[in-house]
Symmetry: C2
Subunit: 294 residues, 2 copies
């Protein structure tokens, strides 16, 4: 079972990596902007978000090629957010996944523009999607702009910055992660379900499942920051503790955090079950995200 999932992930990573690079390589973008955009796109990690999108459309019996441009757009937006988050004025990180961050490898101005370029191109990618209808493209643009914007991911980022060095309640912490991490995961699963022709009820179940998954993802992130292997996660552990950051283990204790994570996983699986789809690979992905060590 584990092997089947690993194969699925690897096969889709190869599929996605090629398409992601092509989406920049093929374009007439001036240097060093092009290299800088490619650098961060190539440095991308596990492609969890687009793989979740692919697994969702396949759970509805759909074809991943149909959804590919919306999946690339999602990874472009995720990558832009990392580039801007790493900037000196933001988290000031020199390393990401063991490699120099964009503004260290290039410079700050180029990194800002690379982020701007990726964000802008994400919408272009959707409008050029060959196998989506006009309505589907427009829905994808609308949902991506909402999920990534100032009431979505960007809102999460500003709230996260404000929460540094202050104690926040559990509800506030959930809201930050719902915006910063959850919104793009919801976009991933919602678009795939919509394009595959999900009913209203199925859409509700899928978005609710994605919401649980976003929080589960973040709880595991917090746990890894304490117990993770630095080589595997590609950054130093203990940074949350050092920055006096509010985390699930801090607010709930480590046992409480693990319990919370298991509850989210159970709820995500229940919702998936209620969506009446072929949930095999999605359920395995949920299990994988819950136990991931990187």
């Amino acid at each position: 079972m584990e092997t089947k999932l690993n194969e699925y992930i690897q096969k889709n990573q190869t599929y996605l990596n090629q398409a992601l690079e092509d989406a920049i390589e093929d374009k007439d973008i001036p240097e060093p902007l092009k290299s800088s955009m490619l650098y961060s796109i190539k440095a991308g990690g596990k492609r969890i978000r687009p793989i979740l999108m692919i697994a969702t459309i396949e759970a509805f019996g759909g074809d991943k090629n149909v959804i590919l441009p919306a999946a690339l757009a999602l990874e472009f937006v995720h990558t832009y957010s990392l580039i801007h988050d790493d900037l000196p004025a933001m988290d000031d990180d020199d390393l990401r996944r063991g490699m120099p961050t964009n503004h260290i490898e290039y410079d700050e101005a180029t990194a800002i523009l690379a982020g701007d370029g990726l964000l802008t191109q994400s919408f272009e990618l959707i409008t050029n999607a060959e196998h989506l209808t006009t309505d589907q493209k427009l829905f994808a643009v609308k949902r991506l702009s909402e999920a990534a914007g100032s009431r979505g991911m960007v809102a999460g980022q500003i709230l996260d910055m404000q929460a540094e060095n202050t104690q926040v309640e559990l509800d506030e912490l959930k809201q930050i992660h719902h915006l910063k991490t959850g919104q793009l995961l919801i976009y991933a699963m919602e678009i795939a379900a919509y394009v595959a022709g999900a009913t209203e009820e199925q859409l509700d179940k899928i978005t609710a499942c994605a919401e649980e998954l976003g929080l589960l993802f973040q709880i595991q992130d917090d746990i890894l920051d304490i117990y993770g292997d630095e080589d595997k996660i590609g950054k130093a552990v203990g940074s949350d503790e050092e920055n006096d950051k509010s985390t699930y283990p801090k607010l709930l204790g480590i046992d409480g955090a693990i319990k919370e994570k298991e509850e989210k996983k159970a709820r995500a699986n229940k919702l998936l079950n209620e969506a009446s789809i072929d949930q095999t690979m999605l359920a395995e992905l949920i299990q994988y995200l819950s136990n991931r060590d990187q």
Copy 2:
């Protein structure tokens, strides 16, 4: 004639300013992100780009309310580009139009996120346009993402930065301005013509006219940096000379630059004439942009 144009500009500025503010005020955006986005939107200048869009749809006998969301999106993108351009890592400007730039009034992190938020919301604005068809919305999203992205405005910005402290040829200078300034002006006029139902030939004439207008706009910018009134333009004159920047007056001499500008104006007017529309207000706007003192 002059008074009629002034009235037209003022009337539309009032119309646009209210709609621009509403587009942020009405939204549930966390502070200080919301204030920061509003600050730069309110500090906006003459609203030339959206007014050009309105004048174009009206030249085709269309209704400005139809195009309003696409006009707001354009001003959002223009405003985001100014916020990011002013950042310390980019042009490092403390003042814009006589007021502290966004990162001075707030801080760098907030300014980066305010820019990201405005850019992202611009696409959302288009998808929510009440009076546009699905096809028109999608065309607007596609053209805006192309015009603003890494083969459009963002490309112009990186080329402009590279051109600092080096001597560039006239052709390269034109290419930089075509990307950095021209693309958004082309978007303004093209979308309006498209939505108004322009023929292929009219679209070609209108985009060619906008292209001339973009260069004319930039030549006048360069001239103002030498002969402008600091109080009116809201920034110090002579900065191009100080930064050893390649400009039209530097490459062509002041007389040559003025001659080039007049040629662009003549060509823009000729193209407008060939588009067979009611060109009165557009021709006056071209005249205004050519002679503007701020």
